[in-house]
Symmetry: C2
C-alpha cells in the first residue's frame, strides 16, 4: 500500500460513489481497490473490523469508515477547494439532517424492493413518498447546497444510477413524478466529478436483478 490515499470500494455501491465524487471534487488522486463482497480482502477486514463494509478510505495508513463520515473527513482535510459543508453551524446541521434522512430512508426501502416479495406495494408507496419529501426540500434551488454543489448533493446523487431500477421495480416515472429532481440530477451529471463516478443505470439494474434472484425465495 504505497499510495497516500487508498479507497476500498465497489463501483455500483451508492455509498462508495459518494466518496469517489468527494475525492474528485477535491482533485485528490487515489489508489482504487475494488472489493469482492463475497470474498472480502484481508485488508478490508483489517481496516474495518467492526462493520466489514465498503467504502473504506485509507489515508496515510489510517482507515476512515462510513460514507458520509468519510465525505466530511475529505471536506475537512482537503479544505483548499470545493467546500462541501457550509461554514455556518445551522446550515451544517441542516445539511447533516438531510444526509441522515437519505441514509436512513432510500437504501433500506430500495433493498426491500429487491430483497423481498412481501410488502412490495407498501415499499413502492414509501419510496415515492421519500422522493416527494426530497423534491420538496430541493424546491427551486439549483442544488441542495443552494447555488453550489454540496454535501447533500454528494449524499443523494449516487442514487441517480438507481433511478432506472426504482422505476422498473416501482412502476413509476421519475420524469413524470419528480421533474425538478430529474433536472437537478442532470445538472449534477454535467460535473465531471459526478459523471465519472456514477455507474450506468442499466448496469445497476442488471446487478440488482441478479441480486433479486439470489435474495427472493419464490
Amino acid at each position: 500500500m504505497a499510495s497516500e490515499v487508498v479507497l476500498l470500494h465497489l463501483l455500483h455501491s451508492p455509498f462508495a460513489t459518494r466518496v469517489r465524487i468527494a475525492l474528485a471534487e477535491k482533485e485528490v488522486e487515489f489508489e482504487s481497490r475494488e472489493e469482492d463482497l463475497s470474498n472480502k480482502s484481508p485488508l478490508l477486514l483489517k481496516m474495518n473490523p467492526v462493520n466489514k463494509q465498503i467504502p473504506v478510505l485509507i489515508h496515510k495508513g489510517k482507515p476512515i469508515c462510513e460514507s458520509l463520515i468519510i465525505v466530511e473527513y475529505i471536506d475537512e482535510v482537503w479544505n483548499h477547494k470545493s467546500p462541501l459543508l457550509p461554514s455556518h453551524p445551522y446550515l451544517r446541521a441542516h445539511a447533516r439532517f438531510w444526509g441522515d434522512y437519505i441514509d436512513k430512508k432510500i437504501y433500506p426501502i430500495g433493498r426491500m424492493l429487491w430483497a423481498s416479495s412481501d410488502h412490495e406495494e407498501a415499499s413502492k408507496k414509501e419510496l415515492i413518498e421519500i422522493f416527494k419529501v426530497l423534491e420538496g426540500e430541493l424546491g427551486d434551488k439549483p442544488y441542495y447546497g443552494g447555488d453550489t454543489f454540496g454535501f447533500v448533493d454528494v449524499a443523494l446523487i449516487p442514487y441517480y444510477a438507481f433511478f432506472h431500477t426504482f422505476e422498473m421495480l416501482g412502476n413509476f416515472s421519475f420524469e413524470a413524478e419528480f421533474p425538478k429532481l430529474v433536472s437537478w440530477a442532470k445538472r449534477c451529471m454535467q460535473k465531471t466529478s459526478v459523471s465519472k463516478s456514477l455507474c450506468d443505470q442499466h448496469k445497476v439494474y442488471e446487478v440488482v436483478l441478479e441480486l433479486k434472484k439470489k435474495l427472493v425465495v419464490e
Copy 2:
C-alpha cells in the same frame, strides 16, 4: 416561545438525554418542553415535520433535529468550553464512527427485546456482542474521548439508564460481563452534567415494561 434555547424532549429518551448532557456541559440554559408522544404538540409537528420526533433543539426560533446532529451543533455554537469533538479530522471521524455505531446498534436491538416475543434469544446475544465491541473500544481509557469526556461519551452514557432494563430482559449482569464499561459509566455519573440529565434506571424499566405490554401481541 420567548427563550433563546428551547428543547422539545422526553425525560427517559436516550436521544433527548444526549442533548440535555451537551447543553449542561456547555452551561447553556434552556426552556424545557416535555412532549407527549401519543399527542404530539403542534410546535413539534411544525419544527420537525419530516420525522416528527424528539429531541428538537430550537435555537433563536430555528429547529435542529436528530440527537447527534444537535450535539455537534451545540459543540460548534457554544465552542467556548468543554469541546466534545476533537479538533483533528481523523479523531473527529473516529468519534463520529462510534456515535454512528451506537445509533445504529443499541436502540434497534433494545427495541426488539421489548417489542417482540420472537428472536429474543438472538437479540440478547446481539446486545451482548454490541457491548463487547463497545468495551473493546473503550479499553483502558478513562473516557471514549481519552482523558476527557467527549462526543462518544455523550452518545453512549444515556444508555446507562437502560442497563438495568437490558439486564432484566437479557438475563445477564453488566458488572460481571463488562466491568470496564460499568466503571466508565460510574465515572461519567460523577459529572453533574450527566447525573442531572439521566433518568433513574428503575423508572426506565417501568416505562419499558409498560411499553412491552402494549407492543407484544401474546
